[in-house]
Symmetry: C2
Subunit: 499 residues, 2 copies
C-alpha cells in the first residue's frame, strides 16, 4: 500500500477491514485452494487428473429445466427475434422499484419456495445485487459503523465481506458446537447477547442463514419462534438469510421466519424487527444473474433499502426474463418439485458413498453441501493447524477442492464443507472414488495415528506420525489412471475453463 | 421514523444523509415533477395532453441499430435456441473479475468511444452496478467518512446519493458561473481547495463529469492537463466521470483524461491518482443493463475496487451479450458514428426550435440535454423561488418535465436542463411547439415583467405582476388540441407506462 499512501491515501478504515478479514481474497490462505483449482481444473476426458471443485455451492442439477423453458418461450427474452420489439422499453428501464411484473413473480416464487404456506407482498420486494448486496443493504439500513450483529458460527465465510467491509458493522459469533449437532439455541444467543452488551457493544441484531450454510440443517419452528420472541423482547433486529429455502429435500417442512411472523400474535413479535434476505442464486442455480432480495416487514426499512437499490439493480434484461419465467406457475411448481427430488438423490448418493469410506456427515436435509466430519483424520486432534494440513492434502493429493471449517469460523477443527450439486453424476463418482481410495489406501497409516488421548505423545513423535507423501503420490497416480479410463464426457462448468 | 427508533433503531448516520439530501427522493420537491409525469405521461395518440418527459437523460436515438444487431446475432444471447447451449456456464458465472471477453470488449469500446486516440487495459476494467455503483465504489476506495471531494457545480443531482449516502464522504462544490459559460477553471478549483483545507477539511480529491452533465460541454485539453498537474502537485485524487464520452456530436475532439495521462510526462502526472468512471447507460442507451466501470491507473485501487465488485456485478446474461456485441468492430464503429450524427441533428433541431422562441442555451457539443437559459422568464430575477415557480408552470401548464438548475446545485437561478434524446421526432416537435406557444402567447405578459433593476418595485406589486393562470389555461387548451391533431404514433418509452 506504500504507493497509495504516497498518493493521496485511500480509505484506511475499509482497507484495514478488507486486509484483516480477507478470508477468500487473493491474499488469504483459503485462496490457495481456488488457485490450485484454477490451475488444474478437472475434466472427465480432457483433464481427468485435475482438481474437482467441491468448494462452490452451485446448484446445477435443474438447469436443463430452465433451458427447456427458454427454448419454449422466446418472447421472454428481449434479445430474441420474438421478444426484441420490447428491447427499447427494457433497455431503458432503471426504476429502482424494479419491473412490477418482476416483483410480483419473485413474490410468487418466494411463496412457492416455502411450500405455499406463506405469501409475500410484492411491494416489500426490494432488489439488490445478489444476496451479497442484499445482506450489505440490510446492514446499511439497520446499523451504524461499530454496531454489532450476532451471527451463529459456523457461518458463510463471505459474511465478513458482505456484512462488514463497507458498513463498518461488527460480527460477534454465537458459537455452535458438535455436542448438539451445531444446533442454534436461544440460550446460546442469549449468552452471546449478554456478553456483548456487557462489553459495551451496541448489539443491533441477530443474523443467520436458514437453511444453514455451511451445515445444510434447518432450524425447527419452535426455536425460530423463540428467537423471534427473543429479538422482540430485546428490541433488536432479526435478519434471516433464506437463500437456500428451496433446497430442502427431506425431513420436516422448512419454516420460514415469514411463517412464524404469521403464526405469532402481536404481543410476541414486533414485525418491524423482522427482515428476510433472499436470492435466486441457490434455489434456481442462477448466481450469475445477481438477483438479491431484501424483504422487510418494516415500512421504513423497505423505503430506505429501496433507495439504496440504485447501487445494485438487477439488469432489466434479466428482470424481464425472470418475470416471465417465474410467473409461469406450472414451470415453477415442477421446477421446485424436481429440484428437491434431484438434490435428495444427489445428497443420498454422496453421503452413502462417504459412508463406505467411514466418513460421516452432520445429518442434513437441505443445502447444496454436506458438513463432513474428518476429525478422525487430523494428525493432531483439535488442531486447526492439522485441519489446514489435511485440507492441503485433500487439495493436492486427493485433488478435491473442499472448504475447511475454519474458513466458516467453526470452533472445532476437522469439519469440512463439501459441495455436491455443482457437477454431473460422473464427476461425483470420480470424487467419491478418490475419497474412498484415499481412506482405504491410507488405512494403515491412519492406524498409526494417535488415539483421542495421546496428543502429547503425538507431539513428541511428529516426525514419525507425518503423512508419507511419497507413498501417497504413488497411490494417487493409480487413482488418476482409473479416472482417465472412466466413461462419459463432462463439459466445463465454468466459462473460466474455456480459456 | 418513530416506529424504527422504537424498533431497535436503524442507521442514524445514513438516514440523516438520505433525509438531508434526498434531492430526487420521494420526499423531495424535485420529485413533484416526476410524480406529475407519472400521473399523466404524454402519448402522441393516446394522451396528447400529457406531460412530456424531458427530465430523463436517456439516449434512445440508436436503439434500432442494437435491435438489428440482436436479430442478426442470436448466438449472442444465452436465452435463444441458438445460444442456450451456453446457458449453464453463464448462469453460474459470478467471478468478480467478470467474463474476460466482457472486459476486453468494454476496453475496446472505451477506446473507440474516445476516437481511438487512447487504449484501455482490460485488466484495469472493474465492474460495478451502473455509474451509480462505480462512483460509490471509487469513493469507498479513496475516502473515509468525513473526507471531502471537490465537485464543480452545477453537477449531476444524484452525486449527493452516489458519492455520499453510504460512504460518508462530503461534497464541497466548486462553483462555476455563467460569466465564463460555466467553464471549470484551475483557479476555481484551487480556490475551493484552499478554502476547504483552511476549514480543516481532509480533501481527498476532485471529481467531475466530462462531458459535463448537466451542461453538455466538454473540458478543453489544456485545462484538463492543468487539473491533472494540480492534483499531482497537491497529492489528491482525480476522478473523471466520462459516461457521456461518446455523446460528443460537434466541435473539437473530446479529450479523455486517459489521453492526458498518455501525453504528460511522469513529473507532471502521478498516475496513481487518476481514475475514470464509465458506463454504457448513456453512450449506448442501456441504463437498464447496469454496466458501470471503474478504471483506475492505480493497482491498489483496481484490486480494492475489484473486491467490492461483488456488491454490483453485472448480470452474466448481460455481460455475455455485450461481450459479443462490443467486440464486433464494424457494429461498434457504425454505432458510434451514427449515434454522434443523430445526436447532432437532434441537438440542432431542438436548439433551433428554442431559438425561435427566443430561448438560448449554453453552447454545447455533447450530452443528451441542453442547459436552457430562462433567466429572462423568472418573475423575480436571481430568485430561486421564482425558478421553482417557473418550473411548476412549465410542468403544470407547458406540460414538460424539465429539471431546474437548483437541483444541480447551480448557484444562478433561471437555468434548466432539458433532455432531448429520450423521445422520437414527433414528440420533440410537440415539445417545441408547446414552448414556442408558451413564449409567444405570454409575450404580452412577459413585457409586463420587471426589468433587471426593479426587483423592489416588483416585490411591492407582486399581485399585479403574477402570472395570469386562467389565461394561461385557455392558451394551453388550444395548444393541446393542436397536439391532438398531430400525426404519428409513439409507443410508450418506459415499461411503467404499460400499466
Amino acid at each position: 500500500m506504500g504507493s497509495l499512501i504516497k498518493s493521496g491515501g485511500v480509505s484506511g478504515a475499509i482497507l484495514s477491514r478488507i486486509a484483516t478479514n480477507d478470508q477468500h481474497g487473493e491474499n488469504s490462505e483459503y485462496f490457495d485452494g481456488w488457485k490450485a483449482y484454477d490451475k488444474d481444473p478437472f475434466h472427465l476426458s480432457r483433464n481427468p487428473h485435475g482438481i474437482i471443485q467441491m468448494g462452490l455451492a452451485e446448484n446445477q442439477l435443474c438447469l436443463d429445466l430452465i433451458k427447456d423453458w427458454i427454448k419454449e418461450n422466446p418472447k421472454a427474452s428481449v434479445c430474441t427475434p420474438e421478444g426484441v420489439y420490447q428491447f427499447s422499453d427494457i433497455a431503458n428501464f432503471q426504476d429502482y422499484h424494479g419491473l412490477k411484473e418482476f416483483r410480483q413473480a419473485i413474490a410468487n416464487f418466494m411463496g412457492k419456495a416455502r411450500g405455499g404456506r406463506v405469501t409475500f407482498d410484492p411491494e416489500r420486494i426490494v432488489m439488490s445485487g445478489g444476496a451479497t448486496g442484499a445482506n450489505e443493504t440490510i446492514m446499511f439500513c439497520l446499523a451504524d459503523p461499530g454496531d454489532v450483529f450476532l451471527v451463529p458460527s459456523p457461518y458463510y465465510a463471505a459474511f465478513d465481506r458482505d456484512l462488514r467491509w463497507r458498513t463498518g458493522v461488527e460480527i460477534v459469533p454465537v458459537h455452535c458446537s458438535s455436542s448438539n449437532n451445531f444446533k442454534l439455541t436461544v440460550e446460546a444467543v442469549e449468552w452471546a447477547y449478554k456478553k456483548a452488551v456487557q462489553s459495551n457493544k451496541n448489539v443491533k441484531g441477530l443474523l443467520f442463514t436458514n437453511p444453514s450454510n455451511p451445515l445444510g440443517t434447518i432450524l425447527d419452528k419452535d426455536t425460530l419462534k423463540n428467537l423471534v420472541r427473543f429479538v422482540t423482547r430485546n428490541n433488536i433486529h432479526l435478519v434471516v438469510d433464506e437463500i437456500y429455502a428451496a433446497t430442502v429435500f427431506a425431513g420436516e417442512n422448512f419454516a420460514s421466519v415469514a411463517e412464524v411472523v404469521k403464526d405469532l400474535d402481536s404481543s410476541e413479535v414486533n414485525v418491524d424487527l423482522i427482515h428476510i434476505v433472499y436470492s435466486l442464486s441457490k434455489d434456481m442455480g442462477l448466481p450469475g444473474f445477481r438477483v438479491g432480495i431484501v424483504y422487510s416487514y418494516n415500512d421504513s426499512v423497505v423505503s430506505c433499502a429501496r433507495k439504496m437499490s440504485s447501487f445494485g439493480l438487477v439488469s432489466s434484461q434479466t428482470q424481464f426474463m425472470l418475470a416471465s419465467m417465474l410467473s409461469d406457475d406450472s414451470f415453477v411448481d415442477n421446477f421446485l418439485m424436481e429440484s428437491s427430488k434431484r438434490l435428495g438423490i444427489r445428497h443420498g448418493v454422496f453421503t452413502l458413498g462417504l459412508k463406505k469410506a467411514d466418513i460421516n456427515c452432520l445429518i442434513s436435509t437441505a443445502g447444496l453441501f454436506v458438513w463432513m466430519d474428518l476429525r478422525h483424520l487430523l494428525r493432531v486432534r483439535n488442531s486447526f493447524e492439522s485441519e489446514i494440513e489435511l485440507w492441503h492434502i485433500i487439495i493436492d493429493k486427493v485433488k478435491l477442492n473442499v472448504s475447511p471449517g475454519s474458513s466458516f469460523q467453526c470452533t472445532e477443527p476437522g469439519w469440512f464443507r463439501v459441495c455436491f450439486a455443482n457437477m454431473d453424476d460422473d464427476t461425483l463418482h470420480v470424487a467419491l472414488r478418490r475419497i474412498q481410495d484415499f481412506v482405504s489406501k491410507n488405512s494403515n497409516k491412519t492406524a498409526e495415528k494417535a488415539s483421542d488421548n495421546d496428543q502429547l505423545i503425538q507431539n513428541n513423535n511428529a516426525k514419525k506420525q507425518k503423512w508419507k507423501q511419497s507413498n501417497l503420490r504413488l497411490s494417487f497416480r493409480r487413482l488418476y489412471e482409473d479416472g482417465l479410463s472412466s466413461p462419459g464426457i463432462m463439459s466445463p462448468h465454468s466459462p473460466l475453463l474455456r480459456t
